[in-house]
Symmetry: C4
Subunit: 191 residues, 4 copies
């Protein structure tokens, strides 16, 4: 089957998710800087969630350039990924309102962990349909970053019960890891 | 007429509907597990509605691969389908807030029944424009699953007044029926 | 310039507008039929607004099949149309909450009148760029329906101060007028 | 890499942002003209924000017609632009509720300034990938309007602490500057 609609539908969902969280940024009641500062914690969480959703969209965009055809399994693996991503705005709103509370901070880590696992499952479904010698499988290689990230999220979830600032730092570090340009896929597209 | 915009517009509506319900998952006021557990019933209903909308999107995606041209009737039959699908978030929010109440549970069944009938009307509009010997008509065959589902939804609506758990189980079973890969269309696309 | 993005962007806006109003349908607090009935007036207005937005999308879809190239003026005429359409959910929410009040009912008529005028301006911008002998200009002919509709909306606005039911009836009649299949454009596309 | 998904995803985000603000226009509680007038300040700010987002979409549409291929840097520069645009609805809601307060009015200027800088960065990323002799670089020329706008926004931010009406006037003037048809890009597309 053609991949066009999978991409178009996913782009729609990504566009909505990346903008939904900003809906939680309610206009403050007061009109001074203190009123504006009251939305700062949620704003910072919005930035982090935006970056995460941007990374997923970016990787999705890169990946599917190497996927000429899709199967029923790929469609569902993609819907499964989008499902977990759809919970990021909820987790962001909760931790944004209680940014030093351990359980919301841990849940935010869970909300990052589950799409990471779903991404792994989507990769597996694509490689299963293309074979282990496909351009995508070769471009991924050992995929160390993909395997390390879930462990780091688990670390962040655990640290939330010691100091939520440590969790926040770890979540931000994983985002930075993914922001460093990764030329594997672009090289494979050129080749 | 070209089918591209029908698909793009439908993808947009599907993307919005599949993510709207998650907007109802409000961040809990407390910060403990009990607070998080309070959103669990709505979360479970969100999962079920997500799966249903995913099934419709998936079937829509499969179907329109066998529809090279669209007519005015198909455009309206599609808008009619999207209308009833647009009420699923409303029904989900109501039953999610009152998951053991018979009328919200029955209404959720109605909200599943009406798109099923609208889907049937869309199929009929497409087959009318293509003829009974088209690839799509042949791929559908006797369409037992399509004919059985409305009866099962009616059963769920009735059971809501006896025990809402039975309705919920039946709604979940119909979703599972549709999740089982159905190769009719994919086989027709390959052929 | 290519028309693809004008269509894609418009489809996105249409998809959002057609589903935004349903967000106003809040889950009732009670769990009986009376609670459900309390959302009925807003539901009926939602149906009417959905049909109107569906008609605009449908006409937009037909029209742009006869527009191979777009100009800067067409882009802005289209944004202008989408602006007025974006106020339909607001007007729907107000009249849905006060369906026998004259001013909300009149405003709903204004919210139908302004996109009708914007549509007319969009038609004019397209015909100006294509010339009066283009397929689209010929397909439109004297465009009696397009010229009559604004007068009927004006009638509905006036009647709101006598009896809002008369306005509602007139708004519904105009929608029906546009639902009657209009083969001018489809014939021109085939030709 | 292909630019199709960058455009489709951006169109989705633009479509959402341009319609999100209208969600803040809540149906008034009363049913008279005074009740309707109470939403007027927010409505006027909605008009201005709509025009600004329309200008960005329009320029984005023009620009990317001269961008045949995208790089990882362009994808992120585009996400960066969309991020700052996503804060316009928030700033609109705040200033709409307090239209004579200096800090909300200044913040609205900041919300216009930051996307302007992000746009500049996006231009730079595109020109870096295409070379200074590309059609786009030539079409931009000295880009006086692009360099002047941030200064005018800064002026508006400063004036907010003297008289918010002056800021509003300046923000409106910059919008008008950009509404005047700018044929540089269209000429380059034709050429």
């Amino acid at each position: 089957m053609e991949k066009g609609r999978l991409e178009a539908f996913s782009d729609g969902v990504f566009a909505i998710l990346i903008t939904i969280t900003v809906l939680e940024l309610k206009a403050p009641h007061g009109v001074n800087l203190a009123a504006l500062a009251s939305v700062l914690p949620l704003f910072l969480n919005y930035v982090l969630s935006y970056v995460y959703l941007g990374i997923y969209w970016n990787n999705h965009h890169h990946f599917f350039q190497l996927v000429p055809r899709v199967t029923g399994s790929i469609l569902w693996a993609n819907l499964h990924l989008l499902f977990w991503l759809s919970l990021i705005p909820f987790a962001t709103a909760w931790v944004g309102a209680h940014h030093t509370a351990p359980i919301p901070t841990a849940l935010y880590g869970v909300a990052l962990l589950l799409p990471a696992l779903a991404w792994y499952a989507l990769q597996a479904a694509i490689i299963r349909s293309q074979g282990k010698t496909s351009a995508l499988a070769k471009a991924l290689g050992r995929d160390i970053k993909g395997k390390l990230s879930p462990l780091l999220y688990l670390g962040g979830i655990g640290l939330a019960f010691i100091d939520t600032a440590l969790s926040d730092a770890l979540y931000a570090i994983v985002a930075l890891l993914w922001l460093i340009p990764d030329r594997r896929i672009e090289a494979a597209i050129s080749a």
